[in-house]
Symmetry: none
């Protein structure tokens, strides 16, 4: 059997006055999701645990069957993986910003005036350094954001950041937070790397252009969020799955890559409102020919939740539903699982700990009488209220790949 | 946002023949609780875990978000905290009874004939001892009960009790249960303290009065329930809450104090049937002006369960409901959570592991179709079946104070 594992990011919500007191899932016309609900066993899951507000990274780990309380080592590795860097277990990874300092190294702008263009050049100028035997990799994120990955022997994540977190303060020193050679080496490498950046960046074409236009120069780099890249279990060895990811957003591809999925690049998959949903669904269903596990991620529901745009979220969800029409006719040897990674209620404009609807269409499975896929209907579902970490084992069981514990 | 966290002790029950096969929650007229249920998301919780019979102390720890499997170090520290002693982390605390021994140190009465009066004098006679460098603190409980707290270096909870647990047997020796200097010192300090008590107590005015009236003298002390007082996380640092407790019963104030709540003394709050419920509700709602977390505890439902008095329990619950009328009009920026700490079914006359109804009224929250607050109705509730330890995180999420795990 095969599996199509669909995550609609931040899809679940709370009642919204703009939607007559309904949630976007309740309000949107979703005939295909509802048809699937009727064919599925449904329920709610707490991505991490009841009451714990999930991040997208920790939630995806849990939903991929990896305990985030063990595997989540800080934002750095996930940020780096998310922008497409091939982070390896043992690398020490950081989030980083291009920033602006004055001649006294006081932070003028932590985001270099939210620099948008030219960061490709800046990154290319900083690439390829090896400092004290440690390789320094750098990857470009959106706008001022990038990631720094240290690779080599004798490094650790026990270092402070150089980011004072507010403008107007002096840039900080990297300091070891443990009394170890590894911590001292890491602090030294980062210090020299930022010194190097401050020597090189001012002479860039990008900064020359910016100064000419009266913009702030991206003349330093703030580094934070240290984490040792964890060794995550691989989908193929753990579950015997040949898995692929269809996603627009970088983080989702990154986490998928970390658990050993192939990444299918789909033209038009942007991770935004303008994403080509039909192309993604088409790519996902076709990938089922080659892979026995396809992860399909839809992002914009979360963005709309962060914006507090309940009407937009309901409208986008209706579009998602239309694009999902082909799923109904997938043969029953393909398990279809649809859920969210967390709730992003429009009234919160952020993630919340509210549990997330889930439905699983298997073969000759137990059903329930839920025929609508929304936060309220699935309360009566046959899955009850489960944890995020339980989802992969349940899916694996439905694929009849479950290994017996005992005899 | 603010929160009013209400525990009706032992409120949940089982069907009782005296109530036409209904539970007290089902039988009692509770229009206000039911109105609140209609405005709430409801469900059931297992205070510790399914099938585990909770104590009042362990249940309250869990409901305050502290894992009792980690933090519960024996009854002593909680008993001591419960009678108002300022137990510090690291103290070794014990439950104790005034008791009567004959000239051969055979126990005549483990409770000194259930002594009620004069124990204040007895405690004052025993106060202020330092034995082998260890401070011995003593606190007065109800009737024959008190608590002994050892404070100092080099002590432990690895000692046996001197209580033979039945009348007619000789008082026991304190013995170390570990081969350690700490255990030996503790046994020695307790032995000398009880020797001291047996020298001092016979000469008390209280005992002279008792003998004259033909009552048993409180001429020794039985000590049991050793526990090292745990270091509990503080509500203010853990959750950023400014919390206060409104309770009659000592134990509840004690646990509340241990997690960093202020204690509001309310005249008429007795922890019994005669408690002034209106005064407590009034104090709790007024405390919401100063505090952002108010814990309101109602005790007598549990007492009536222990008595097997189902009719009395239903009647008292109806009174509680009347007193709760003002809660309905609390503004929606106050989260209202109502639950019990465990079930005390009248047919058991003791605590049981039956899960406990819970309801949470938040702001713009998901609801369910439950409109009655009882054991049967909440089975269909939107919270499902959760653990006691999950309640605080869910409440914190509802207060929008939840910290994201990950990004």
């Amino acid at each position: 059997m095969k599996a199509l594992f669909i995550i609609i990011d931040g899809v679940s919500d709370r009642p919204n006055p703009e939607l007559d007191g309904k949630t976007p899932m309740q309000y949107a016309e979703t005939p295909n999701l509802d048809k699937l609900a009727a064919l599925s066993i449904t329920g709610l899951h707490d991505p991490i645990a009841p009451g714990v507000v999930p991040g997208s990274d920790t939630a995806h780990l849990a939903l991929f069957g990896v305990d985030p309380l063990v595997a989540y080592t800080g934002r750095g590795p996930f940020e780096a993986a998310g922008i497409g860097m091939d982070v390896k277990a043992g690398d020490v990874a950081f989030r980083a910003n291009f920033a602006t300092v004055d001649e006294n190294r006081i932070i003028v702008s932590r985001r270099a005036g939210r620099i948008k263009e030219g960061t490709h050049e800046l990154v290319s100028l900083l690439e390829g350094q090896t400092i004290e035997g440690v390789k320094v990799l750098i990857g470009k994120g959106t706008e001022h954001r990038c990631a720094v990955v240290l690779r080599g022997k004798g490094i650790s994540a026990d270092v402070t950041m150089n980011d004072p977190k507010v403008d107007g303060k002096p840039i900080k020193q990297f300091k070891p937070t443990a009394d170890s050679d590894e911590a001292r080496l890491t602090a030294s490498v980062l210090t020299k790397f930022v010194e190097f950046a401050e020597r090189i960046l001012p002479g860039s074409k990008t900064n020359a252009d910016r100064l000419q236009k009266g913009k702030l120069a991206a003349n330093t780099m703030l580094v934070r969020g240290a984490g040792v890249s964890p060794h995550l279990p691989d989908f193929s060895t753990t579950h015997g799955l040949n898995a692929v990811c269809v996603a627009g957003g970088g983080l989702y591809k990154g986490v998928a890559r970390m658990v050993g999925m192939d990444i299918l690049e789909v033209p038009g998959a942007t991770g935004g409102l303008d994403t080509d949903l039909d192309a993604k669904v088409n790519a996902a269903t076709r990938a089922l020919e080659k892979y026995n596990f396809v992860f399909l991620h839809v992002k914009a529901t979360d963005n709309l939740g962060h914006d507090g745009n309940a009407v937009g979220k309901a409208e986008f969800l209706a579009k998602v539903d239309k694009a999902f029409a082909p799923l109904i006719s997938l043969p029953d040897d393909t398990v279809i699982l649809v859920t969210g990674d967390h709730s992003t209620p429009c009234p919160f404009k952020d993630h919340s700990a509210d549990p997330v609807p889930i439905m699983l269409r298997g073969k000759q499975q137990r059903l329930d009488d839920v025929i609508k896929f929304d936060e309220y209907s699935v309360v009566r579902g046959g899955l009850g209220r489960i944890l995020g970490i339980h989802i992969m084992p349940i899916l694996i069981n439905e694929m009849r790949l479950g290994k017996k514990f005992g005899a």
